[in-house]
Subunit: 216 residues, 2 copies
DNA sequence: ATTTGTATGAAACAATTGTTTGAAAGTCAA
DNA sequence: TTGACTTTCAAACAATTGTTTCATACAAAT
């Protein structure tokens, strides 16, 4: 574990950069939040840019440790994997373990900085490869490009609830938006996706038994 | 038409704020791009914040004038409307008439500033209401919340190609991403959505005759 | 030609910014 | 106890920032 001051700086940097971006976030504000001297950034990280890069890496670790994908066995059915994937990804979007970490990763995903391309790639690629593999199991004859298109449709639905949450809340109100909890959204995205894949009747194969529906 | 200097300032402000955000974008850089004196911002707009608000309104006008929705008649079938909606929205995302305008609106949608909430609402609401009305025609017995969920799934797919374009390019490469042109993405999203709605065989009803497929 | 109003510009201001510096305090090993 | 090393701090620096000011140029009306 790193130095406690360094850790607090990373935590504060993550929050400030998540809220305001690299240029909008100031070294002084980060140090104030971290309870550190303004010189500490240069002492521990070299300069503001290197702090930013470390903060993105820090956010990446927090995002991938939060809600892990289950360990599937070779005989886990692909529909089950698809259900698990959607549930995990939607949970990460709607109930992130660290909102600041996710927000910073979302910023980098929307507008990657050159220095963080590797971090973003390491964040996206494992998920993307798993989804591509699931879709290939479900559609062995499809071309790779079509599988990507399906994958983008699936991921686009999940990301909407994080990236466009203010829009959704604007349309249905904050109270209305609360009704779209993780379980309901997960169930909807899974059902929508299965319908698109021509597997509309297979929803139970995707869901765990304890997600028996109670909503009208 | 407003004063040419004022117009150039708005244009430059839109670009700079789109790229760097409100705090990251400086008055001096905007004026440099506009070929105007730094005092011009305060002369024409009062201060930086008011310039920002006007730039967002300016972007809003550009976005809504670019690719308009068709004027449907009362007997236009809902599947045709759905197809048109997806095509128009996807075109706006993949081939915006003004990339800077769209990027600034996307920024405001992802992280609305208090002063621009009305502008964002005016941007989103007409599209949202039209989509909600189309979905209601297609599913008269559905509850409003479920229609919203479907709407979010449709819009999430379209937005993905704008908001997560760097991710997609990271996964499939820039050259690979070029293959996902407007027609192909539109066709895919429409097909995906119809499948989800239990209307998988109705794709031709959504598409115009001249979009006869030529791709492999 | 003169007056009035508009637009532009250079310069200045106060505040903020990222970074550096040398001193002081704290910690650890010998 | 002493010396070496690490960490923290206040202060300072140069650069940038948003805004203001006053002078100048230009345009329009009389």
């Amino acid at each position: 574990m790193t130095d406690p001051t360094q850790e607090r700086l990373l935590q504060a940097a993550e929050e400030v950069f998540a809220e305001k971006g690299f240029q909008g976030g100031s070294v002084r504000e980060i140090c104030k939040r971290a309870g550190a001297n303004v010189a500490a950034v240069n002492y521990y990280f070299g300069d503001k840019e290197r702090l930013y890069i470390e903060a993105v890496k820090y956010a990446h670790r927090a995002c991938t440790q939060g809600t892990p994908l289950p360990n599937w066995t070779p005989d886990t059915p692909p529909l089950r994997k698809l259900g698990d994937f959607i549930r995990v990804f939607t949970t990460r979007m709607l109930q992130p373990s660290s909102a600041a970490s996710l927000q910073l990763m979302m910023r980098e995903m929307a507008q990657p900085t050159a220095a963080c391309v590797e971090v973003v790639r390491d964040y996206i690629r494992p998920m993307a490869e798993r989804l591509q593999a699931i879709l290939r199991e479900l559609k062995p004859d499809a071309v790779a490009e079509d599988l990507y298109l399906h994958g983008f449709s699936i991921v686009g639905q999940c990301l909407f609830y994080r990236q466009n949450r203010p829009i959704a809340a604007l349309l249905v109100g904050d109270e209305g938006f609360q009704k779209f909890d993780v379980e309901r959204v997960t169930r909807h995205i899974t059902a929508f996706t299965l319908g698109a894949l021509g597997l509309a009747d297979r929803l139970p194969d995707c869901l765990e038994s304890e997600t028996a529906e109670v909503a009208r």
